[in-house]
């Protein structure tokens, strides 16, 4: 290792810089997707303009067909078909609601995105410096393989920056030309998504380089076996994070609001943010399975390392975290139901719902055994029997039971939303009258979501074992080893807290100082 970092070591320094960059990037890429959607929903209600919608949908369909022809695997084709179906449906059928609150939500969120953008660039530079210094060997390897990709990335990053500032600073001047402003926003999102796809290619390559990577074409390196799975997973997760962060801002504003109308608005904003987060969260287990399937098809030894060896306890933790997210989301929804009049008859379903979710959680996180990997023996004085699941209950530790538990939790979350809609049809919604503790659920959920993102990122990196690039470039630094769960948890916890501090700063500048101005 050419250079090390004093006190914390190069690996920890790189870990913090990279993870912070990813969190901030996820926010600045995810939030604009629904900002543009909200801006559209908030626009004046107009006629369904088929002359614009139909050609746009046709272009999308043509692009999807082209992508399907280029796709190499069945999984890729499924992902492309689903994405194309979703986008085409959005283009054809979503109509503006003419609700000014959506416009305000979009505007206020975009304000913090512009501030977060600078911090994303700063953390990206820190990440780059760490790669060029202590991990220069990796940087050189990646630049050699992905030179044109990095050049395109730099160019598109510039274009994205320009589009982002133009989109933000033309909000007022283009208030009467919403169509043009929304087109700018769509352009920003397209460029942002391509930037993400480019860097995902590099990240995915490090875990699953294609066969004969030394002589492989650039496209083969980019379109490596887990690129599409990672794209899908990150795209959805970015929107989830964006939604939860909006809900976090709304929670603070709700609790400090002095006027009833502000309280009502921020109550609504928190609900919408959480709704976006939860709606996309329900898709994430499926996206996760697709990515895992791609990894398993690539190399089954990685699968063993992840699910049965050193990373198995990480997945127990993952189950706990996702369950906590669903518990938090359902808790918030039931608090939301309570603010609707005439809902007493529905509240009786609340405790049984949570009882089933908790049972599902227990099943999800019950491990096959409490051994941390395949070689470490049971602690002294404790028999293997005490920490291994009994024979006839072994099904609880299998994927089938876990998948059923997750499905039950997702179904109940969906049912909770159905109850909410049913209650809404009978009673009157009183925005601003939600119990204050519900706002703390909107803080709990992002904390868990960010921690989960950090842990999953660590799993994907640690799955490479002692390789910088799996089977291509070996990690010969003093930090080559897989970190145990405790060490990983501590690192993820530190990054989660630093990210919160940064978001608090962004929020203070954007909402408080901006407001005073």
């Amino acid at each position: 290792m050419p250079i090390d970092v004093p006190l914390i070591g190069a690996r920890s320094a790189l870990w913090i810089a990279a993870q912070l960059h990813l969190f901030l990037a996820a926010f600045v890429l995810g939030a604009p997707i629904f900002i543009v959607l909200c801006e559209y929903l908030g626009a004046r209600k107009g006629a369904r303009n088929w002359r614009v919608r139909l050609p746009f949908a046709a272009v999308l369909a043509a692009l999807a067909i082209l992508a399907l022809l280029l796709a190499g695997t069945l999984i890729d084709r499924i992902i492309i078909s689903l994405a194309a179906l979703l986008l085409t449906t959005l283009v054809l059928f979503v109509r503006s609601a003419g609700d000014a609150r959506y416009e305000r939500l979009a505007h206020e969120t975009m304000k913090v995105v512009t501030i977060a953008y600078s911090l994303t660039a700063i953390s990206g530079a820190a990440f780059g410096f760490m790669l060029m210094g202590p991990y220069s060997q990796v940087a050189v390897h990646l630049f050699q393989r992905f030179g044109p990709v990095f050049a395109l990335y730099a160019l598109l990053f510039l274009v994205e920056t320009v589009l982002m500032y133009v989109y933000w600073y033309t909000w007022e001047p283009l208030a009467r030309r919403k169509g043009l402003h929304i087109t700018l926003g769509v352009g920003l999102n397209i460029v942002g998504t391509v930037v993400m796809l480019l860097m995902n290619a590099v990240g995915a390559y490090m875990l699953t380089p294609p066969e004969g990577s030394a002589t492989a074409s650039l496209w083969a390196l980019v379109n490596n076996p887990t690129w599409s799975g990672l794209n899908l997973h990150r795209f959805i997760a970015n929107i989830t994070l964006g939604g939860f962060m909006v809900a976090l801002f709304a929670a603070f504003m709700f609790l400090t609001a002095k006027r009833d109308e502000d309280r009502a608005f921020y109550d609504w904003m928190g609900f919408i943010g959480n709704f976006i987060g939860v709606a996309t969260l329900m898709l994430l287990p499926l996206a996760g399975y697709i990515l895992a399937k791609e990894i398993f098809l690539y190399d089954a030894t990685i699968a063993t390392f992840m699910m049965a060896d050193k990373l198995s306890s990480f997945f127990v933790m993952q189950g706990l975290l996702v369950s906590l997210l669903f518990l938090g989301a359902n808790y918030y929804m039931w608090m939301s139901i309570r603010r609707i009049t005439l809902t007493e008859s529905y509240l009786g379903y609340m405790r049984p719902t949570f009882a089933v979710i908790l049972v599902g959680t227990v099943i999800w996180v019950t491990p096959q055994n409490f051994l941390p990997d395949l070689v470490t023996p049971a602690p002294a004085g404790i028999g293997l029997q005490a920490i291994t699941i009994p024979e006839r209950a072994a099904f609880l530790g299998l994927m089938m039971a876990k998948a059923l538990a997750v499905t039950a939790i997702i179904m109940l979350t969906f049912l909770t939303y159905m109850v909410y809609r049913r209650a809404l049809a009978q009673g009157t919604l009183r925005w601003g009258e939600i119990a204050p503790q519900a706002q703390y659920a909107l803080v709990f959920i992002p904390a868990v979501a960010i921690y989960l993102m950090g842990l999953m990122g660590a799993i994907r990196e640690l799955a490479r074992q002692d390789w910088h690039v799996y089977t291509v470039l070996r990690d010969t630094t003093p930090y080559w080893y897989t970190t145990p769960l405790a060490h990983t948890s501590l690192m993820v916890g530190i990054v989660t807290l630093v990210f919160f501090a940064l978001m608090a700063f962004i929020f203070w500048v954007g909402f408080k100082l901006g407001r005073a101005e």
Binding site: I382, F444, T482, S489, L490
Partner: protein, 225 residues
């Protein structure tokens, strides 16, 4: 006047009412919690092993942790409206506290789970072995110091080992310092090479020490450069 009469006849009735009150308190959540704790800690251990459904201690502790987490959740669920703190600073502090506690609990959960050991850096294992070898050298059980000296301390009946690591590699052609020291300690005076000027009195420690002890002792001697 009626109060004393009531209290005189009360011992039995008082006990009954206390029991009734306790049972009433156990209704709902507390009763369910107690029942499940009894199931986990009193009923599950009674299940015979050959049924294949007897959960071990680790799982019972795990189920208990999940049960307490669930109880905490249901307790919070029963709360009506809590009053938020006043002022922006108070609200921000309370939100930060929730965030901090959540993150702290998650880090703690990751830390209490069984861990695989982190591999030691290459030098650390040798250092630890040398430390154990030093204890053997200077300890009463093996007591190499009774005959050998290091840095002016120890016996004089056998060679001074102060710089033994520097010269051990030159004793027998073709043998590294590590290999020579290992063979010499194992065979003692019966080894082919004998240091001149000293009587061949060294016992064959290969018959006394375990392989690990021998390795530790050699690791210590190799530090004496």
């Amino acid at each position: 006047m009626s109060e004393p009469a009531h209290s005189q006849g009360a011992p039995g009735a008082g006990r009954a009412s206390r029991v009734t009150a306790a049972l009433r308190a156990l209704r709902g959540g507390p009763g369910t919690l107690l029942g499940l704790l009894i199931l986990i800690w009193a009923v599950l251990p009674l299940i015979p092993d050959d049924t294949g459904i007897r959960f071990g201690l680790g799982y019972r502790a795990f189920f208990t942790a999940m049960l307490l987490l669930g109880t905490l959740f249901f307790w919070f669920l029963g709360k009506q409206r809590i009053a938020p703190p006043r002022g922006s600073g108070g609200v921000l502090a309370s939100l930060a506290a929730v965030y901090l506690v959540t993150t702290g609990v998650l880090v703690a959960a990751g830390s209490v789970y069984p861990q695989f050991p982190r591999p030691q850096p290459p030098g650390a294992a040798a250092q630890e072995a040398a430390g154990r070898g030093k204890e053997l050298f200077w300890g009463a059980s093996v007591g190499c110091f009774r005959c050998h000296s290091i840095g002016g301390k120890g016996g004089t009946r056998a060679p001074d080992l102060t710089h033994v690591a520097s010269r051990a590699g030159q004793r027998v052609p073709g043998l590294t310092a590590e290999r020579y020291l290992s063979e010499k300690v194992k065979a003692g005076a019966t080894y082919e090479y004998k240091v001149p000027e000293y009587a061949p009195i060294m016992p064959p420690f290969g018959q006394v020490l375990s392989q690990e002890q021998l390795e530790n002792l050699v690791a210590y001697l190799l530090t004496l450069k």
